[in-house]
Amino acid sequence: MVEKALFAIFMEGVFIKNFLLIQFLGLCSFVGVTKDFKSAAGMSGAVIFVMAMAATASYIVYNYILVPAGMEFLDLISFIVVIAALVQLVEFVVRKNVPALYRSLGIYLPLITTNCAVLGVVLLNVLSEYGFVQSVVFGISAGIGYTIVMLMMASIRERSTFVNIPSSIRGLPQAFFISTMLSMAFVNYFWVIPI
């Protein structure tokens, strides 16, 4: 376990190493699900939830099953299985107990299994040698950072629907140009936080 303040890990997850704009993790959903605000919010909610759960579950699997058995080389395969199982479990529990939440998050849950942001959280936790609480904090903060950027992007794209721009820029190129601006803000403002 590394010595690092939890607040520093939190700020790093949300701003300094923002998953979407700085680390480029989870871009498929970033350009795919941000066409309207409502689905971006649904996807973000599901991602925060699964990231926190995945950080917890993978810490337990890695440190209490793989390390004692000397099978660290199986980490990738076991993480992807853990995430897939977790997503299924979350879907099952939410559908059974909170049908209203399932109706808003449900269709996004299967997408998350192959979302590289979730696997990214898990792998970065192992790489940075975080302890249990640190891992969970990093998972939650990465989810919050993801949410902030998804909501910003969705609002901007929704408002710029009727802007008159050349047809070859409409759609994906436009989304990338908006991300350029957002990314500049993140790079320049948040790299100066002294932690």
Partner: protein, 204 residues
Amino acid sequence: MDPLSEYIRGITRDNPIFGLVLGLCPTLAVTTSVENAIGMSAGTAFVLVFANIFVSALRKQIPSAVRLPIFIIIIATFVSIVDMIMEAYFPPMYAALGVFIPLIVVNCIIIGRAEAYANKNNVFYSFIDALGISTGFLLVLMLIGGIRELLGTGQIVTFGYTLVSLPLNPDVTTMILPPGAFLTIGTLMAIVNYQRAKKRAKGG
């Protein structure tokens, strides 16, 4: 179907970045230099070729209800192999690409080709398809990496050889920082869209 046109299709019409728009994360994250772009494409190509071959060879045995988990396990196995080979033999490259080598496992290109192509075609054509898609991926990554490295650092240095050098201010590094990635791919995509629209208007 003839093999050559199947191969070319992976570079042009079904180009993973500009045609299918899959696998954006590594495309933007590792293209800070041509060298990283080549390393990343090589890793992805290895996994894509073997995953396509194995999925295609096993396509009659895999029950369609559980095919996605099985594809993921096949892909994860080859990604683990690439991960270990890179760590053992190319440590500087491994350090530069970092978490993106293990993340090949969730690269949509690979599972996309397994599902859309290898699951329906024989081993030989799946192999050709994987080669075509890998070449398309390599070319796009090298293009983006080249633009960013040249405009960000003023020169392109690949495996110790300086290919091009420009008299630019070395303090302006925007292009190798994250915004440069978004700007480059947005511009390239707009150009591709413009060319396609022009071709369509001509009736091509």
